[in-house]
Amino acid sequence: MLYTDHEVIETMQMVASESLDIRTVTLGVSLLDAPTKEPLALARFVYDKIMRRAERLKDVVRQIEGRYGIPIVNVRISVTPMSLVCDGLAEGDYLRLAAALDKAADALGIDYIAGYSALVHKGATPGDVRHMQSIPEVLASTRRVCASVNVATTRAGINMDAVRLMGTVIKSTAEATRDRHGIGCAKLVVFANAVEDNPFVAGAFHGVGEPDTVVNVGVSGPGVVLAAIKRLRAENPSADCGALAECIKRTSFKITRAGELIGRQVVERLGPPVRFGIVDLSLAPSPVIGDSIANILEALGLERVGAPGTTAALAMVIDAVKKGGMMATSSVGGLSGAFIPVSEDLGMIDAVRHGALTLEKLEAMTSVCSVGLDMVGLPGDTSAETLSAIIADEMAIGVINHKTIGVRLLPVPGAQVGDLVDYGGLLGQVPIMPVNTMRPDAFIHLGGRIPAPVTSVKN
């Protein structure tokens, strides 16, 4: 036999019953070659270039899906941070450019286009400020555009003025989309150490160090990892942490290889100038039963995610995922950690509703391998200062630990602790979590920059 029965059947089961999929194929498109700053012409250029580069993307992805029999869940586009493309334009023109992005995504049948972004970790230009101030209106008036702002890096420290501003931007975005439970905030991420090749929307953008057009792939497979852990524990009840980590590592290797195969095939079919970028070795859940990170942690012996031990278990799982993945591909990139969008993981929602999982525990998880506070629902009366302070805490974790952290907070207008807000589809259901009510206002109003940490000096 060319392959052992075991190999064939394992692969078959991964696809058929364990939700093995490629979570996202994201086409990064550079807009730095815009030949003009005249707003109308610039908007037309942005639209045309995206259409030109991504014209065949969906068709090609569908073909590859058919050929290899592995589902590709999301097809998305990221572009050069729009604050760079738009810098120098007047306030109203930012909306025009965002509308061009929206229109391109719509014409291509792509659900989200990311890159309405700014990089202000050390300071903001007047253009960056106009960009950040335009975010609420952009997110309210477009359907598919996603925004992100990088406010901190390990090298530069934390731009606390930007942190403060983003608190009010999030608040205004929630208000601007109040009729849809503040859904605009689901399309807005605040980052520390943002990466240039992240394939995962909403936080994706096409960095300035990237070539013209690249394909970045996000692999996933919590369902496959969960099944592997369960199988090992059933076969060998005395399997210890080392054995479990080894099992996860092997599984991750296989998932990643599949991801790289798919990504390279997409690139080959799209042809030049599209180049293969990276594989993001993340575990990302989906609102499908069994495709949950919470369930993985629970399969390791925690009564419910959020219990003491959760942080250690998560660290072990994701570290093993990375080790297997790094052996499988030389093109590791993106965030490569654990995505824990609370609303998109049935196990996480359950844990919040049972009071097992708190904001503070989620924060602790971001200090090891979780890539941030993601899709965390907060009461509608949470103040902008509190939002900024939550962001500041996360930024500090990212900056000190040399890791990428994203914050996507949803202060749902009118919602109270305990409510369950349904966004439908991929975004899932958001349980509203309690927030510490002690006020951080004076600290947030200090402004300025938290200097880069001692660990930033490596030379």
């Binding site: 029965d5 064939v8 078959m12 290899y68 029999g69 195969l261």
Partner: protein
């Protein structure tokens, strides 16, 4: 649904007989060989308007171009058609028989990289003759079975077939998969068809 004419259908006829090929029939390569060996004449239904033949050929060209290029390209379709007409293929034989036409198509089309093997797993309750019927179905689709294995998974009988699709320009992997899954369903089996590259990527370093 087109009817597939296989060797067996022609075996019933005597030497020197004539077989009437209707427009809704597809004659397999082995059946054509058999016919040639036994002096059986394959008579194609006459009286069809040139229009119909052209559009069937056009469709076949379009399918091939779409599967190779990943998009429709009217200009290329036209080029291939013109080239075929030039080498006298378009009029040589009705296109309902989708066997290769006059050697390779003389237009350089991008080829799929690597091999083109499918791995089929079919799970169900073991019944007499089930493997034979599945392999026959795969062969009829033009697949060359290179390896067969049987095992029991969670109490269910599971067959694993490694099938070489060869150049298989005429069928996309997608279409092949759909046909095999259909055949599995008819046999009461649950089938999964994967491209070999996936297994190679996952299990071979």
């Amino acid at each position: 649904m087109k009817r597939l004419i296989t060797e067996q259908d022609l075996e019933r006829l005597g030497k020197g007989a004539t077989f009437q090929v209707e427009p809704q029939m597809i004659v397999t390569p082995s059946a054509r060989d058999f016919a040639a060996q036994h002096q059986i004449t394959l008579a194609y239904a006459s009286g069809r308007a040139g229009q119909t033949e052209e559009s069937a050929l056009d469709r076949a060209i379009k399918d091939i171009v779409a599967s190779e290029l990943g998009r429709s390209d009217p200009a290329l379709v036209e080029a291939v058609r013109a080239e075929l007409a030039h080498v006298g293929v378009a009029s040589a034989e009705p296109p309902t028989d989708l066997t290769p036409v006059a050697g390779p198509i003389p237009v350089p089309l991008p080829r799929d990289p690597g091999g083109n093997r499918a791995v089929i797993t079919a799970t169900g309750i073991n019944r007499t003759g089930i493997l034979g019927r599945l392999t026959t179905a795969v062969s009829k689709l033009g697949g060359d079975i290179q390896d067969v294995s049987q095992t029991i998974v969670a109490g269910y009988f599971t067959m694993i077939l490694v099938v070489e699709l060869g150049e298989a320009r005429r069928t996309t992997f997608d279409a092949f998969r759909a046909e095999v899954l259909g055949a599995c369903k008819e046999l009461g089996l649950q089938g999964v068809v994967m491209h070999e590259d996936v297994l190679k990527a996952m299990h071979r370093v």
